[in-house]
Symmetry: C2
Subunit: 348 residues, 2 copies
DNA sequence: GTAGGGTATGTTATCGATCACATTCTTTCT
DNA sequence: AGAAAGAATGTGATCGATAACATACCCTAC
């Protein structure tokens, strides 16, 4: 069997790594046949397949993914858009996404959204039009990026809350923060606290955040006084500042925090104010970030399965890209209250 | 001015986004001229440039980076190889790399190295032969990946330690862990502690890790007893387990930890053993991870500029890829001992 | 024996850019 | 004024793959 016509103009020099043409020439087949072997889609005779595979191994041939994508092959790459990965939630979600994508043979791009940066240039970050995208939209920057994405890009997103207006977007997933916050609040009430104060993380939209709503749900249902939520940021410092003055008031006996970092700041403020935890004051966090179990006192918090959410977000994307072959979207865990040392009965 | 010859066979249909040909046609120039405008390298008359730029804006044209790379354009993408990003050091380094790369107009790929996974397939993760790579090689998996990379890929790495054998690789950078550990150890000795125990993080190579060496340097120089390093992992739990039995010995009054997470576990073990920090026992961490300042007691630790290291690692790569135009490699901060509440005078 | 229907494989066009070289149009100098 | 030098721009080949279509081959059925 001889391949004569339609050869590439020049022999690939030794300096360049093997291309599909080199494999084809050495194996004595056409590049299309090599392509068929690589992708395993079309039928190739067993003998030919074996020969091609052997040549591939000998030459150390690796398909060039850029060329594959350019030529319109199946999508095998994703770009993740996320804001500050110093935050546990975003970082853990990213880990889940990367793991799932890598396992499925996708290459993963990442682009961090600076807080407050413009969204006009979002499309510029993509490697090509139609690039697949996952957005981690737990905050304002993420939500804006999601909105700014051109309509033709296949995108899935992990969001803080479902959109208020219109139907659910089937390509967005979220954790049930609202129910979890309500549960944590009910837990504190059940310990005898008259009410629960809440230090809020910044909102991802103009509407009331899910965690804030859940906290309010529980207080309302129990007919308890509903304090103003204390506006916090994402950092321990902002939690510290948010409650410092509040803690002089000994009637404040229970504080729920929008995340564990805020709780860290709250606990420090409590120490400085001479309030004992959990004797005088119960503190509950949100996220169950890694240090929480080892803090002094260890932190009662709501465990959120961000990694699972990230894996599911990729699963969703995979289904969107390739409904035929993609596996089922993996399930993720429900939020779970982890009771530790930082919460206890209301002081008598 | 009319462009007649050498047109692409068919008009780009409305469904596909604008290509360089569309811009060229509308602007009445050749695609090469559009390419020149995009890349700003060759000279184009002011009038032509303005017209092309306007058409680009009108059509919303975005160059396809895959096609650019395939066609042999300048490298504008990097893949970062890193192990577990749940660890603060790797995560912070990655942040620095991503930020610097994004700022320089590079797209960033990421691929996580599973602990203990084979290294044979590392090249498979790259989008193409010759893809630029940065490796975060603070642990075994990273170092192995760095070794397994084909010779033709332009790579820089953030490493735990410089290679023992042979000359320094000019494309690797590191923090001076050894000096920092020695400094932290001297600090503890200066507080009156007879000696300092050390809980080690896993080694990235078969040789003695830098932090361990620095600790030993200081003890030797001071003529103090040199205890066996306690083997730890990366997690608080492993720190807890490593020192639990040791803490029964009241003569142990100072412990240096290979990272802050280990310190977290050590502090818990101390609490359970009824050892007061810093009264009975001084604990010093390594890294200055975000929670450290807010722990109870707040943790004395060595601040490491991982983000700066990451930025520098990209700077180095940029110089390697494009020595002419790349900016100078940004400096990063020296390790710095941050004294907080967890360390104090030796008990009398 | 020949039409019919797969199966295996080859050929050409295409994706969207860059590169190297060719060509045209201006200047500038003698 | 003519030639040489340089600026601006166009042409064809190329990167490494896939898609769509074409073709050769083989076996079965009438």
């Amino acid at each position: 069997m001889e391949v004569t016509g339609h050869m590439p103009p020049q022999d690939a020099p030794r300096t360049r790594s093997a291309s599909i043409w080199d494999v084809a020439r050495v194996a004595g087949v056409s590049q299309q046949t090599v392509s068929r072997v690589i992708n395993g889609k079309a039928r190739v005779s067993e003998a030919t397949r074996a020969r091609v595979l052997q040549v591939i191994a000998e030459l150390g041939y690796r398909p060039n993914r850029l060329a594959q994508a350019l030529a319109g092959g199946p999508v095998r790459s994703v770009t993740v858009l996320t804001s500050d990965t110093a935050l546990y939630g975003a970082a853990a979600t990213l880990r889940g996404m990367e793991e799932a994508a890598r396992t499925a043979g996708f290459s993963v791009g990442i682009s961090v959204l600076e807080r407050g940066s413009g969204q006009a240039d979002i499309a510029l970050r993509l490697n090509r039009p139609g690039e697949a995208v996952m957005v981690i939209a737990f905050d304002d920057a993420g939500v804006r990026a999601l909105r700014a994405l051109p309509a033709d890009v296949p995108v899935t997103a992990a969001v803080e809350r479902r959109p208020d207006d219109g139907p659910d977007d089937p390509w967005q997933i979220w954790l049930d923060d609202r129910a979890a916050a309500a549960h944590a609040t009910r837990y504190l009430l059940s310990l005898g606290h008259q009410t629960v104060h809440y230090v809020a993380i910044p909102s991802s939209t103009s509407a009331l955040p899910q965690r804030t709503q859940g906290w309010q749900d529980a207080l309302r249902a129990a007919g308890r006084p509903l304090p103003e939520p204390l506006p916090g940021g994402w950092s321990p410092r902002s939690g510290y500042l948010a409650v410092r003055s509040l803690l002089a008031d000994r009637s404040v006996t229970a504080i729920l925090c929008g995340n564990d970092d805020l709780a860290l700041g709250v606990m420090r403020a409590a120490r400085e104010a001479g309030r004992d935890i959990p004797g005088d004051l119960s503190v509950v966090g949100f996220d169950d970030s890694p240090p929480s179990a080892y803090l002094n006192p260890s932190l009662t918090t709501v465990r959120l399965d961000f990694e699972g959410l990230g894996r599911a977000c990729f699963g969703l994307l995979h289904r969107r890209l390739d409904p035929q072959n993609a596996a089922a979207v993996p399930a993720w865990s429900e939020p779970e209250l982890i009771v530790r040392e930082s919460s206890g009965p209301a002081p008598s």
